[in-house]
């Protein structure tokens, strides 16, 4: 005997199909967002690098300033200059933060709509990419609760634990996962952690 009436099964099937469509859109968003975030982060770092380099050169040109009596004034000018530079930096950091927050908000709002594996793991990966390991751990645990067989939550969990300096827990987590599942990625990560320990 079926546990459900056929019409109820058809309804549930249609609902499930819809959910799957949402999930795949969520995955797509995550896949689109992640590279953008990575590229944006890379560019921001690169810009600040070039700026620093230009600034490094500038003083060299000014390194041989005409010796004037205005030494004190000069120092003051430098302070003012530094302040200006710092103020110029601030908006960029804020901008970076706002991009990050915006993306995170999107992922979180998608998660509140659909508490699926894909939405949860996207948030975990996102936090991990921003080196927010505590949050990455929190979300990886959530993701693993939704789908116990996926290796990605365990891998993010282990990587984050390792990044926080807790290699023992990281290895234990991977060993636990590999007891019940197969995953080349998890195996490689475990071997890497083991090699790191023996070194």
């Amino acid at each position: 005997m079926l546990n459900n009436d056929i019409h109820s099964l058809i309804r549930q099937y249609k609902k499930y199909k819809k959910q799957r469509r949402f999930d795949s859109i969520g995955r797509m968003i995550a896949w689109i967002l992640l590279p953008i975030v990575v590229v944006a982060t890379f560019l921001t770092f690169q810009n600040s690098d070039t700026k620093e380099r230009v600034e490094d050169i500038k003083p060299k040109v000014q390194e041989t300033p005409p010796i004037t009596e205005k030494k004190i004034e000069n120092t003051n000018e430098q302070i003012v200059e530094n302040q200006v530079q710092e103020e110029e930096k601030k908006p960029k950091e804020e901008e970076k933060k706002s991009v990050k927050d915006e993306n995170l908000q999107r992922l979180l709002s998608y998660y509140t709509k659909r508490k699926s594996y894909s939405s949860t793991i996207s948030i975990a990966s996102y936090y991990y990419s921003y080196r927010e390991y505590e949050n990455a751990i929190k979300w990886a645990i959530r993701a693993s609760k939704i789908n116990k067989n996926k290796d990605q939550p365990w891998i993010i969990y282990a990587k984050s634990k390792s990044a926080l300096g807790n290699d023992i827990i990281a290895k234990k987590a991977l060993e636990t996962y590999l007891k019940f599942n197969e995953s080349t990625e998890a195996e490689i990560l475990l071997k890497t952690l083991e090699n790191n320990t023996t070194k």
Partner: protein, 267 residues
Amino acid sequence: MNQFLEAKNLFKDDFDLEGYLDSFSFEHAKTELLRSLNSPDIPLIFLLGNPGYGKSYLLKFIEQRADAIKIAKFISLPYFTEREFLENLVEIAGVQAINKRYDLEVLMKTLKDRLNPLEYTIIIDEAQLLNHKQMELIRILSDMRIFKFLLAMHKKDGHKILAKSHFKSRTNSVIYMEALKKEEIERYITNRLLSRNLSNIVSAFDSSDINFIYKISQGNFRLMKKLLSALFEIIDVAQQENLKKYSKIREATLTMAAIDIGLINVK
């Protein structure tokens, strides 16, 4: 009878040995089990596997088809008191339960005197449910070589028990049952349906359907049978209600079957 209804009955979760599954895991476990059961040196055999991998089915197979094995008792669920257990065993030895006296030593001695060493086997399914006292009794009886024990239990629990020091060093045999492979699932479905001349249904399955069944059941024998049973019932009901879209084997009906047996959770 409608052919889908007939197909549904073929995949009921029972111990119909006609539909024996000749998978690698089954065959390997069966051969190892028979070897251990026939060996005069192995008093304790552990059959380990995840729930639904076919341990109970294999035990039934041994009980019904392995004629050379003398089975004193087949316990499907080990809910018994030590007293009941021992009294039952003594009766097997042909003694009238010694006035129902519960004296462990006397009972043991009677059994040892009456029976040839390891002549009889006691099969216990779901042995992870045995409590510490029961397990200790089994250990003593097998140590004294009064009975051979075949204990089937979940893999995790089996590992815990085997890790205990008093089981570690003992002469025992540990046999594992693994998940089915995709090809084995396909062969099982085909053979089972063809045994009832349901070739129409066999040809209705394509490789993506088999993939779906394999993935969703994760090679689990019991889940695979439940899924197929639900699938055929859905199709049968859909045909009766003239729901043409759901009257065939396809992703929709397979998904509905998976929802029905709880493999897919729709919130």
